[in-house]
Protein backbone atom coordinates (compact mmCIF):
# COMPACT_ATOMS: atom_id res chain seq x y z
CA UNK A 1 0.00 0.00 0.00
CA UNK A 2 1.29 3.45 -0.90
CA UNK A 3 1.61 5.63 2.15
CA UNK A 4 0.08 9.05 1.64
CA UNK A 5 2.08 11.83 3.17
CA UNK A 6 0.63 14.81 4.92
CA UNK A 7 1.95 18.28 4.22
CA UNK A 8 3.95 18.29 7.43
CA UNK A 9 5.78 15.16 6.31
CA UNK A 10 6.95 16.51 2.98
CA UNK A 11 9.81 18.75 2.01
CA UNK A 12 9.33 22.12 0.39
CA UNK A 13 11.96 21.84 -2.37
CA UNK A 14 11.87 25.62 -2.53
CA UNK A 15 15.12 25.76 -4.50
CA UNK A 16 13.50 24.13 -7.54
CA UNK A 17 11.28 25.67 -10.17
CA UNK A 18 7.65 24.57 -10.37
CA UNK A 19 8.44 22.38 -13.35
CA UNK A 20 11.36 20.71 -11.59
CA UNK A 21 9.34 20.10 -8.46
CA UNK A 22 7.24 17.66 -10.47
CA UNK A 23 10.36 15.64 -11.28
CA UNK A 24 11.75 15.17 -7.77
CA UNK A 25 10.36 13.46 -4.72
CA UNK A 26 9.51 15.55 -1.69
CA UNK A 27 9.52 12.68 0.80
CA UNK A 28 11.61 12.86 3.94
CA UNK A 29 14.36 10.32 4.58
CA UNK A 30 13.47 7.38 6.77
CA UNK A 31 15.51 5.98 9.62
CA UNK A 32 16.92 2.47 9.45
CA UNK A 33 15.42 0.08 11.94
CA UNK A 34 17.52 -2.91 12.95
CA UNK A 35 16.21 -6.42 12.65
CA UNK A 36 14.20 -7.47 15.71
CA UNK A 37 16.36 -10.56 16.18
CA UNK A 38 19.77 -9.52 17.49
CA UNK A 39 21.64 -12.44 15.94
CA UNK A 40 20.35 -11.50 12.49
CA UNK A 41 21.36 -7.89 13.00
CA UNK A 42 24.80 -8.95 14.21
CA UNK A 43 25.22 -11.14 11.16
CA UNK A 44 24.17 -8.24 8.90
CA UNK A 45 26.64 -5.93 10.64
CA UNK A 46 29.42 -8.48 10.20
CA UNK A 47 28.62 -8.65 6.50
CA UNK A 48 28.52 -4.86 6.20
CA UNK A 49 31.83 -4.45 7.99
CA UNK A 50 33.55 -6.79 5.57
CA UNK A 51 32.30 -5.24 2.36
CA UNK A 52 33.05 -1.55 2.66
CA UNK A 53 32.78 0.03 -0.76
CA UNK A 54 34.34 3.46 -0.99
CA UNK A 55 32.85 6.13 -3.18
CA UNK A 56 35.46 7.27 -5.70
CA UNK A 57 34.98 10.96 -5.09
CA UNK A 58 38.17 12.81 -4.19
CA UNK A 59 36.85 15.78 -2.27
CA UNK A 60 40.16 17.34 -1.24
CA UNK A 61 43.90 16.86 -1.10
CA UNK A 62 43.43 13.72 1.05
CA UNK A 63 42.06 11.87 -1.95
CA UNK A 64 45.67 11.27 -2.93
CA UNK A 65 45.93 8.83 0.00
CA UNK A 66 43.25 6.61 -1.48
CA UNK A 67 45.45 5.65 -4.46
CA UNK A 68 48.22 3.92 -2.47
CA UNK A 69 45.50 2.44 -0.27
CA UNK A 70 44.03 0.52 -3.17
CA UNK A 71 47.29 -0.51 -4.88
CA UNK A 72 49.80 -3.24 -4.12
CA UNK A 73 51.58 -1.89 -1.06
CA UNK A 74 48.63 -1.36 1.27
CA UNK A 75 46.03 -3.34 -0.68
CA UNK A 76 42.82 -2.43 1.08
CA UNK A 77 41.07 -5.31 -0.67
CA UNK A 78 42.32 -7.42 2.24
CA UNK A 79 39.63 -5.74 4.33
CA UNK A 80 36.93 -6.05 1.72
CA UNK A 81 37.38 -2.43 0.69
CA UNK A 82 36.73 -1.64 -2.93
CA UNK A 83 36.26 1.52 -4.91
CA UNK A 84 32.93 2.16 -6.56
CA UNK A 85 32.25 4.74 -9.23
CA UNK A 86 28.77 5.80 -8.18
CA UNK A 87 27.14 6.76 -4.87
CA UNK A 88 24.35 4.25 -5.47
CA UNK A 89 26.74 1.33 -5.05
CA UNK A 90 28.98 2.59 -2.28
CA UNK A 91 28.68 2.49 1.47
CA UNK A 92 31.68 4.51 2.72
CA UNK A 93 32.30 8.16 1.95
CA UNK A 94 35.87 9.25 2.66
CA UNK A 95 35.99 13.02 3.03
CA UNK A 96 39.53 13.72 1.87
CA UNK A 97 40.55 16.78 3.81
CA UNK A 98 39.14 20.27 3.36
CA UNK A 99 35.75 20.81 1.79
CA UNK A 100 35.09 24.03 -0.05
CA UNK A 101 31.54 25.30 -0.24
CA UNK A 102 31.29 24.32 -3.89
CA UNK A 103 32.46 20.79 -3.05
CA UNK A 104 30.21 20.60 0.01
CA UNK A 105 27.20 20.94 -2.25
CA UNK A 106 28.37 17.92 -4.26
CA UNK A 107 29.21 16.04 -1.06
CA UNK A 108 25.69 16.52 0.27
CA UNK A 109 24.22 15.43 -3.02
CA UNK A 110 26.41 12.33 -3.19
CA UNK A 111 25.89 11.43 0.47
CA UNK A 112 22.14 11.59 0.18
CA UNK A 113 22.22 9.45 -2.95
CA UNK A 114 24.14 6.70 -1.17
CA UNK A 115 21.95 3.86 -0.07
CA UNK A 116 22.01 2.83 3.54
CA UNK A 117 23.77 1.57 5.51
CA UNK A 118 26.31 4.29 4.84
CA UNK A 119 29.31 5.50 6.79
CA UNK A 120 31.43 8.64 6.63
CA UNK A 121 35.14 8.80 7.40
CA UNK A 122 36.54 12.31 7.76
CA UNK A 123 40.19 12.34 6.83
CA UNK A 124 42.64 14.94 8.04
CA UNK A 125 42.34 17.86 10.42
CA UNK A 126 40.35 20.15 8.13
CA UNK A 127 36.94 18.52 8.67
CA UNK A 128 37.51 18.75 12.44
CA UNK A 129 38.22 22.46 12.88
CA UNK A 130 39.30 23.88 9.51
CA UNK A 131 42.97 23.02 9.92
CA UNK A 132 45.24 25.33 7.97
CA UNK A 133 42.17 26.75 6.23
CA UNK A 134 40.60 27.99 9.48
CA UNK A 135 40.31 31.54 8.11
CA UNK A 136 39.53 30.75 4.49
CA UNK A 137 36.53 32.40 2.89
CA UNK A 138 35.58 29.30 0.98
CA UNK A 139 36.26 26.23 3.13
CA UNK A 140 34.03 25.08 5.96
CA UNK A 141 35.44 24.69 9.44
CA UNK A 142 33.33 22.02 11.11
CA UNK A 143 32.26 19.23 8.83
CA UNK A 144 29.95 17.54 11.35
CA UNK A 145 27.61 20.52 11.12
CA UNK A 146 26.61 19.43 7.62
CA UNK A 147 27.06 15.65 7.40
CA UNK A 148 27.23 13.22 10.33
CA UNK A 149 30.70 11.72 10.68
CA UNK A 150 31.24 8.18 11.95
CA UNK A 151 35.00 8.23 12.27
CA UNK A 152 37.67 10.91 12.29
CA UNK A 153 41.26 10.27 11.21
CA UNK A 154 43.30 13.34 12.03
CA UNK A 155 46.65 14.40 10.68
CA UNK A 156 47.77 16.56 7.82
CA UNK A 157 47.87 14.40 5.79
CA UNK A 158 47.26 11.01 7.39
CA UNK A 159 49.37 8.30 5.83
CA UNK A 160 47.68 5.26 4.28
CA UNK A 161 48.73 3.20 7.34
CA UNK A 162 46.47 5.38 9.47
CA UNK A 163 43.70 5.06 6.96
CA UNK A 164 44.01 1.27 7.17
CA UNK A 165 43.88 1.53 10.97
CA UNK A 166 40.82 3.76 10.63
CA UNK A 167 39.09 1.26 8.39
CA UNK A 168 39.74 -1.49 10.94
CA UNK A 169 38.36 0.77 13.66
CA UNK A 170 35.29 1.47 11.53
CA UNK A 171 34.79 -2.27 11.10
CA UNK A 172 34.89 -2.72 14.85
CA UNK A 173 32.32 0.03 15.30
CA UNK A 174 30.04 -1.41 12.64
CA UNK A 175 30.25 -4.90 14.15
CA UNK A 176 29.33 -3.41 17.52
CA UNK A 177 26.41 -1.63 15.88
CA UNK A 178 27.61 1.83 16.89
CA UNK A 179 27.75 3.47 13.45
CA UNK A 180 24.48 5.35 13.46
CA UNK A 181 25.49 8.40 11.43
CA UNK A 182 22.84 7.88 8.78
CA UNK A 183 20.15 7.62 11.45
CA UNK A 184 21.41 10.76 13.15
CA UNK A 185 21.11 12.50 9.81
CA UNK A 186 17.50 11.42 9.50
CA UNK A 187 16.59 12.30 13.07
CA UNK A 188 18.19 15.76 12.96
CA UNK A 189 17.35 16.31 9.32
CA UNK A 190 16.01 19.86 9.74
CA UNK A 191 19.03 20.92 11.78
CA UNK A 192 21.42 19.62 9.13
CA UNK A 193 19.42 21.26 6.34
CA UNK A 194 19.43 24.60 8.15
CA UNK A 195 23.19 24.45 8.55
CA UNK A 196 23.69 23.42 4.95
CA UNK A 197 21.51 26.20 3.59
CA UNK A 198 23.23 28.74 5.81
CA UNK A 199 26.44 28.06 3.90
CA UNK A 200 25.22 27.11 0.43
CA UNK A 201 23.48 30.21 -0.86
CA UNK A 202 22.50 29.00 -4.32
CA UNK A 203 20.45 25.99 -3.27
CA UNK A 204 19.10 24.82 -6.61
CA UNK A 205 18.64 21.13 -5.86
CA UNK A 206 15.97 19.11 -4.06
CA UNK A 207 16.07 19.15 -0.26
CA UNK A 208 16.71 15.42 -0.18
CA UNK A 209 18.42 13.87 -3.23
CA UNK A 210 17.81 10.18 -3.31
Amino acid sequence: MIKTLGTEDTLENAGLTAEEQQLFSNARPQAYEPYPIKAVEDFANWARANSLWILAFGTGCGAIELRPLMTARFDANRFGVAGRPTPRQSSVFVIGGYASVKTLKRIIRSYEQMQGPKFVIALGICPVNGGMYFDSYNTINRFDQYIPVDLYITGCMPRPEVLVAGIMELQKKIKAGRCDGANRYVENFDWYKTNQKKVIKNWDMPDYNW
Binding site: K105, N129, F134
Partner: protein, 180 residues
Protein backbone atom coordinates in the same frame (compact mmCIF):
# COMPACT_ATOMS: atom_id res chain seq x y z
CA UNK B 1 65.06 42.99 -26.12
CA UNK B 2 66.44 46.52 -26.00
CA UNK B 3 65.33 47.19 -29.58
CA UNK B 4 61.83 46.06 -28.65
CA UNK B 5 61.75 48.39 -25.69
CA UNK B 6 63.04 51.30 -27.78
CA UNK B 7 60.36 50.74 -30.38
CA UNK B 8 57.71 50.55 -27.64
CA UNK B 9 58.95 53.76 -26.02
CA UNK B 10 58.76 55.45 -29.40
CA UNK B 11 55.10 54.52 -29.88
CA UNK B 12 53.55 54.18 -26.42
CA UNK B 13 53.60 55.91 -23.05
CA UNK B 14 55.56 53.13 -21.35
CA UNK B 15 57.36 53.85 -18.10
CA UNK B 16 59.06 52.03 -15.19
CA UNK B 17 61.03 49.67 -17.39
CA UNK B 18 62.71 47.32 -14.91
CA UNK B 19 64.90 44.31 -15.52
CA UNK B 20 63.88 42.06 -12.60
CA UNK B 21 66.31 39.29 -13.49
CA UNK B 22 67.89 38.00 -16.70
CA UNK B 23 65.01 37.10 -18.97
CA UNK B 24 62.30 38.94 -17.03
CA UNK B 25 61.47 42.58 -17.70
CA UNK B 26 58.45 44.56 -16.58
CA UNK B 27 57.05 47.84 -17.86
CA UNK B 28 54.06 50.01 -17.04
CA UNK B 29 51.64 51.37 -19.59
CA UNK B 30 48.49 53.45 -19.50
CA UNK B 31 45.10 51.79 -19.47
CA UNK B 32 43.98 53.16 -22.84
CA UNK B 33 46.98 51.98 -24.85
CA UNK B 34 47.49 48.68 -23.02
CA UNK B 35 45.46 46.50 -25.38
CA UNK B 36 47.14 47.98 -28.48
CA UNK B 37 50.57 47.51 -26.90
CA UNK B 38 49.84 43.88 -26.08
CA UNK B 39 48.55 43.33 -29.60
CA UNK B 40 51.72 44.92 -30.98
CA UNK B 41 53.86 42.69 -28.77
CA UNK B 42 52.05 39.59 -29.94
CA UNK B 43 51.93 40.37 -33.66
CA UNK B 44 55.19 42.25 -34.33
CA UNK B 45 57.59 41.50 -31.48
CA UNK B 46 57.12 37.74 -31.14
CA UNK B 47 55.56 37.63 -27.65
CA UNK B 48 53.17 34.92 -28.73
CA UNK B 49 52.56 33.21 -25.40
CA UNK B 50 50.33 34.54 -22.62
CA UNK B 51 51.65 33.10 -19.36
CA UNK B 52 48.97 34.50 -17.09
CA UNK B 53 46.96 37.52 -16.11
CA UNK B 54 46.86 38.48 -12.47
CA UNK B 55 46.03 41.43 -10.29
CA UNK B 56 47.62 43.21 -7.33
CA UNK B 57 45.49 45.25 -4.94
CA UNK B 58 47.21 48.50 -3.90
CA UNK B 59 44.50 49.67 -1.54
CA UNK B 60 46.65 52.56 -0.22
CA UNK B 61 46.97 54.08 -3.69
CA UNK B 62 43.41 53.26 -4.70
CA UNK B 63 44.43 51.20 -7.72
CA UNK B 64 44.44 47.65 -8.99
CA UNK B 65 47.54 46.70 -10.97
CA UNK B 66 46.85 44.14 -13.67
CA UNK B 67 49.87 42.11 -14.77
CA UNK B 68 49.92 40.54 -18.22
CA UNK B 69 52.87 38.17 -18.42
CA UNK B 70 53.96 37.49 -22.01
CA UNK B 71 56.68 35.19 -23.28
CA UNK B 72 58.82 35.24 -26.42
CA UNK B 73 59.98 31.79 -27.49
CA UNK B 74 62.55 33.15 -29.98
CA UNK B 75 64.80 34.92 -27.48
CA UNK B 76 63.39 33.30 -24.29
CA UNK B 77 62.38 36.65 -22.83
CA UNK B 78 59.43 37.23 -20.52
CA UNK B 79 57.79 40.63 -20.42
CA UNK B 80 55.36 41.74 -17.72
CA UNK B 81 52.98 44.51 -18.73
CA UNK B 82 51.63 46.38 -15.67
CA UNK B 83 48.43 48.32 -16.12
CA UNK B 84 47.00 50.49 -13.34
CA UNK B 85 43.22 50.76 -13.17
CA UNK B 86 41.03 52.73 -10.83
CA UNK B 87 39.84 50.82 -7.79
CA UNK B 88 36.46 52.54 -7.72
CA UNK B 89 35.67 51.91 -11.40
CA UNK B 90 37.52 48.66 -12.11
CA UNK B 91 37.09 47.88 -15.78
CA UNK B 92 39.56 46.91 -18.47
CA UNK B 93 39.56 46.04 -22.16
CA UNK B 94 39.15 42.31 -22.67
CA UNK B 95 41.97 40.53 -24.51
CA UNK B 96 40.10 37.28 -25.19
CA UNK B 97 40.26 38.22 -28.88
CA UNK B 98 44.08 38.01 -28.74
CA UNK B 99 44.36 34.78 -26.76
CA UNK B 100 41.34 32.53 -26.39
CA UNK B 101 42.62 31.28 -23.04
CA UNK B 102 42.38 34.78 -21.57
CA UNK B 103 38.70 34.50 -20.72
CA UNK B 104 38.99 32.13 -17.72
CA UNK B 105 41.57 34.49 -16.21
CA UNK B 106 39.24 37.41 -16.73
CA UNK B 107 36.31 35.49 -15.33
CA UNK B 108 38.37 34.68 -12.24
CA UNK B 109 39.48 38.29 -11.85
CA UNK B 110 35.86 39.39 -12.06
CA UNK B 111 34.96 36.96 -9.29
CA UNK B 112 37.95 37.49 -6.99
CA UNK B 113 38.49 41.26 -7.45
CA UNK B 114 35.31 42.50 -9.12
CA UNK B 115 37.10 43.78 -12.22
CA UNK B 116 34.86 44.10 -15.27
CA UNK B 117 36.02 43.00 -18.72
CA UNK B 118 33.20 44.04 -21.07
CA UNK B 119 32.63 41.53 -23.84
CA UNK B 120 34.53 38.66 -22.23
CA UNK B 121 32.65 35.36 -22.58
CA UNK B 122 30.79 33.88 -19.58
CA UNK B 123 32.07 36.70 -17.38
CA UNK B 124 29.19 36.70 -14.90
CA UNK B 125 28.99 32.95 -14.34
CA UNK B 126 30.20 31.65 -11.00
CA UNK B 127 33.67 30.16 -11.18
CA UNK B 128 34.75 28.89 -7.74
CA UNK B 129 32.42 30.83 -5.48
CA UNK B 130 28.92 29.59 -6.11
CA UNK B 131 26.27 31.86 -4.66
CA UNK B 132 28.73 34.40 -3.33
CA UNK B 133 26.94 37.33 -1.66
CA UNK B 134 29.79 39.41 -0.21
CA UNK B 135 32.34 41.78 -1.72
CA UNK B 136 34.94 39.97 -3.85
CA UNK B 137 37.11 38.02 -1.41
CA UNK B 138 40.58 38.86 -2.72
CA UNK B 139 40.06 42.57 -2.20
CA UNK B 140 42.10 43.60 0.77
CA UNK B 141 39.26 45.27 2.65
CA UNK B 142 37.54 41.87 2.88
CA UNK B 143 38.20 40.42 6.34
CA UNK B 144 38.40 36.72 5.57
CA UNK B 145 38.92 35.55 9.17
CA UNK B 146 35.90 37.48 10.44
CA UNK B 147 33.78 36.16 7.59
CA UNK B 148 34.95 32.60 8.20
CA UNK B 149 34.11 32.75 11.89
CA UNK B 150 30.70 34.25 11.25
CA UNK B 151 29.64 31.85 8.54
CA UNK B 152 31.53 28.64 9.19
CA UNK B 153 31.78 28.78 12.97
CA UNK B 154 34.70 28.12 15.21
CA UNK B 155 35.59 25.05 17.24
CA UNK B 156 37.35 25.61 20.55
CA UNK B 157 40.55 23.70 21.15
CA UNK B 158 40.62 20.80 23.54
CA UNK B 159 41.22 21.34 27.24
CA UNK B 160 44.76 20.33 28.06
CA UNK B 161 45.65 18.22 31.10
CA UNK B 162 49.40 18.49 30.53
CA UNK B 163 50.89 20.00 33.74
CA UNK B 164 53.24 22.28 31.85
CA UNK B 165 50.43 23.78 29.74
CA UNK B 166 48.10 23.93 32.74
CA UNK B 167 50.60 25.83 34.91
CA UNK B 168 51.37 28.25 32.08
CA UNK B 169 47.69 29.11 31.87
CA UNK B 170 47.57 29.51 35.66
CA UNK B 171 50.61 31.77 35.80
CA UNK B 172 50.12 33.88 32.69
CA UNK B 173 46.37 33.92 32.04
CA UNK B 174 46.28 37.36 30.40
CA UNK B 175 48.86 36.35 27.81
CA UNK B 176 47.12 33.07 27.01
CA UNK B 177 49.83 31.03 28.73
CA UNK B 178 52.63 32.71 26.80
CA UNK B 179 55.78 33.17 28.90
CA UNK B 180 57.46 35.77 26.68
Amino acid sequence: MNETLERLQHHFDVSDITVRKPGLTTLRVGKESAEILIRELRDREGYTHLNFITCIDYIEDGIFTLVYMLHNYDNQQTLGVHVDIDREQPDMTSIHTLWAQAWPYQRELREMYGIRFPGSPRLDEDFCLEGWDQIPPMRREFDTKKFSEERFGHREGRHSEVPRVHMKMELYPKRGGDEE
